[in-house]
Symmetry: C2
Subunit: 223 residues, 2 copies
């Protein structure tokens, strides 16, 4: 599953240092759904980025599915991400020159066992807008395309940074059900940063961050 030991992450700009992750140790079993909670600026996105191989820790160990990714060079990290990781970014990161369909297709092309693109688009309610471009979409529509792109890849590890932040309650519930379906069908390991109570309620594990520190990692009493 996921194993972090004494992970440090420091951001330096000039002589200012931000300790984004301070001595974080964490164990999460494969095939579970975990939520990551904590105040704004507490290190949640940084933690997810390190687990997803998008960012490197400055210290400590990061083992994902028995791979010691803290020792990987750039090419190895790129291969690790391609092979294992689906990422839903807090700021979507859609490609402005590609349509909705093409943005999701990118997720399918780098996968060894992708889901059907049309199916996933229908699942997030964006099939009717598949030929539109990101700047022609509402905030929540852009978020749903980012979700579709990660889902279609059908990754072993799905990392979701506030996947329902821009969505109303009903649409948020639809996305929640999609994540649960994927988990049930494929045994996907899912990590979700969220402020959404509904998502927290369905998680198997709850991880709490505060000022760069892990303050709790506990089984969810009320899943």
């Amino acid at each position: 599953g996921i194993l972090l030991k004494n992970v440090q992450k420091v951001y330096k700009s000039g002589d200012v240092e931000v300790q984004a992750l301070k001595n974080v140790s964490l164990t999460l079993p494969e095939g579970t759904i975990s939520v990551i909670l904590g105040p704004s600026g507490s290190g949640k996105s940084t933690l997810l980025n390190v687990i997803g191989g998008i960012d490197r820790a400055n210290g400590g160990e990061v083992h994902i599915f028995d791979q010691a990714i803290h020792e990987f060079n750039d090419d190895q990290l790129t291969e690790y991400r391609r092979k294992y990781v689906g990422f839903i970014f807090q700021s979507y990161n859609l490609i402005p020159t590609l349509t909705v369909y093409e943005n999701v297709e990118v997720g399918a092309e780098i996968s060894e066992s992708p889901l059907p693109i049309d199916e996933v688009l229908k699942g997030v309610g964006m099939y009717d807008k598949k030929d539109k471009f990101p700047q022609q979409l509402s905030g929540g529509e852009q978020q749903r395309v980012a979700i579709a792109r990660a889902l279609v890849k059908n990754p072993r590890l799905l990392l979701c940074d506030e996947p329902t932040g821009a969505l109303d309650e009903e649409t948020g519930k639809t996305i929640l059900r999609l994540l649960q379906d994927v988990h049930r069908q494929f045994g996907t390991t899912i990590l979700i940063i969220t402020h959404n109570q509904g998502i927290s309620a369905m998680a198997h594990w709850v991880v709490k961050m505060k000022s760069g520190e892990l303050v709790e990692c506990a089984k969810n009493e009320h899943p």
Copy 2:
């Protein structure tokens, strides 16, 4: 206050037409706090953009503080926005080459009666990071800078597009209290698009959108 009559807004791309606003009529008194609710893609941001003079309606009338802004040319709209409107964008729209402090200062410079920049930065909890750049901030930190920039302008009309979307519950409540303080102190007219129950509860008026139509505009029974 705010008066809309039979407002239409159509987005065209090629031969595809999206009716983002269909015959929207709306009256909201000056000096009140209103929430705009509705599913993703229902037209909330478009409505706010038309009220704020950021986008033009294709049909109907838009009267804000007795100004017929649907008749304004570009220069007049720019002056209207400068004079009356503070906007918190759904995607923040911070200037990447300016620091946090400088981004907020932009809001102060175009105002006739700005609030003290340091005070507002402390209010949103971003004073310690005032010399950082947007790409060095977490999602919620960027959102708080966008909020500060609008607040410091001390506008007569404050338009907030999902101002707490990226914030945890505690920080969201802080922002809520700030908005209420501003309203109490200055009689600011505030429109807030949100999925946040706490904000909805404190509004005087509730506006509901569905598929581009206004389906309800009612006094809030439980403010």
